[in-house]
Amino acid sequence: MTKKVKYIIAGAVVIAVTAALIAVWILITQEKVSNAVANIYQNGTLIRSIDLEAVEESYTFQIEGENGAYNTVLVEPGYISITDASCPDKVCISQGKISDGVLPITCLPNGIVIQIETQNSTSSTLDGMTR
């Protein structure tokens, strides 16, 4: 084996290792940016954003609407739900807690949507849910 061939091999190995490290770094940083922010919309307007990963203690607050309409929101570490509402069907309450962006909580009569936005998704998670 000549000296020149040895240099070529050494160079190739360095490039290969560097490229592989870059690929791994891209994949790792992709996962790290993943988080869950609950965006609350009232009649299409964003009224509040809550980073669910930053929540340490549970709390509730009320969204007031027209003609005495209201929805009580429960925020827990990693989860959000509606626990009380003035709407007649209470479907928003029965939708339970959500923790990912697959399915929003909706209160059609009061015009409320709670959608969790995630920075990232992987192939293993659901992309949507029919209902």
Binding site: I9, A12, A19, A23, K90, S94, V113, S123, L126, D127
Partner: protein, 341 residues
């Protein structure tokens, strides 16, 4: 031997560089993404697109949905359909291309399902008021006079003049079982043809239609809602360039005196269908067809629906019965469905 070594070196370098490039490619498509959730067409819609024109596509998609709502809503007093419902009894009303097309195709689905779907029970739907703040249990005296046998045969369409005429005063059009599917198809067509979108997911209140495959080349994973816990999926189907639409009794309902009344009405009785099913999901290529069939098969019940779906090409279904049993038609053999067209 020594001559082969440089070739091995070149292969190593190429392989490593390719791995970076491919990681970067899927990352780049993923980074060019846009997503928005809004209340539109009396439901919550989420549209997520990938590609250079993702943001423009999302904006145009919601505008399209709102335009269609202004034509097809049966509740919005300013919509074209609302006006037609007020004036078309015994009087031919000229309508837009969109309204005529949706009416024509919806009536066709009513005939094909032998009335399990009937989009002329608008007055009965209004009595119940599902999804509005006026939801209530109507009395039998209110419902009975509005029951019209095969109401969809009491509508006269004139293709040449593009007019609609009602032949019975008790019918009104309601496209709650077809409009969202029609909108999903129209939005997808626009995004593909005008915005060059090759990767995206349109979710109109659970009516899902996908554009191509995911940004990483994998099929889209679509959960079928568990009727007993609507935050969870009871089954997952993987689809590429297809639509999945569910009709379930857990979506819009109210409870009165301990009885649960859901929004899928049996056109023959005017009351919520009680067919032994909790939900039916249709997977096919055309979202309007899927929308219509999901409602019709829910009303038909398992046995009749299973046979009916099996008789159709490129249409599959997932039924969930009241006792929680999941039944899939024969085309869904390995949890994967791809439209063959």
């Amino acid at each position: 031997m020594s001559k082969r070594i440089p070739y091995i070196s070149i292969f190593l370098v190429l392989a490593a560089v390719c791995s970076v490039l491919f990681t970067g490619c899927s990352n780049s498509l993923q980074s060019q993404s846009a997503s928005r959730t809004e209340l539109v067409m009396n439901t919550v819609a989420t549209i997520t697109l990938y590609g250079e024109q993702a943001q423009e596509g999302v904006n145009a998609a919601f505008q399209k949905a709102k335009d269609l709502e202004n034509i097809l809503s049966s509740q919005n007093e300013k919509s074209e359909l609302y006006q037609v419902n007020q004036t078309a009894y015994d009087h031919a009303v000229e309508v837009s291309d969109t309204l005529f097309t949706v009416t024509q195709r919806s009536l066709q689905y009513c005939r094909e399902t032998d009335g399990a779907l009937d989009c002329t029970i608008g007055k009965i739907n209004d009595l119940w008021g599902f999804g509005t703040s006026n939801a209530r249990l109507p009395s039998e005296e209110e419902i009975t006079p509005l029951l019209v046998y095969k109401g969809y045969e009491q509508i006269e369409l004139n293709e040449e003049n593009q007019t609609i005429r009602f032949l019975n005063p008790n019918i009104q059009l309601d496209f709650g079982a077809t409009a969202k599917g029609f909108a999903a198809d129209e939005i997808k067509k626009m995004l593909v043809e005008e915005y060059g979108i090759t990767c995206g997911l349109i979710n109109l209140g659970g009516n899902i239609i996908t554009i191509g495959s995911k940004y990483d080349g994998q099929p889209w994973g679509i959960g079928i809602t568990d009727p007993n816990d609507t935050t969870k999926a009871i089954s997952t189907e993987y689809i590429t360039n297809a639509t999945a639409v569910t009709s379930g009794n857990y979506e819009r309902y109210f409870i009165q005196d301990g009885v649960r009344y859901h929004h899928i009405l049996d056109p023959k009785t005017g009351y919520p269908a009680n067919s032994g099913l909790c939900s039916t999901t249709i997977i096919t290529e055309n979202s309007m067809l899927a929308d219509a069939l999901s409602t019709a098969t829910y009303v038909m019940g398992l046995e009749k629906s299973y046979a009916y779906i099996e008789s159709l090409d490129h249409v599959e279904a997932i039924f969930i019965t009241d006792d929680g049993t999941v039944v899939k038609t024969s085309g869904i053999t390995d949890d994967t469905f791809e439209v063959v067209s």
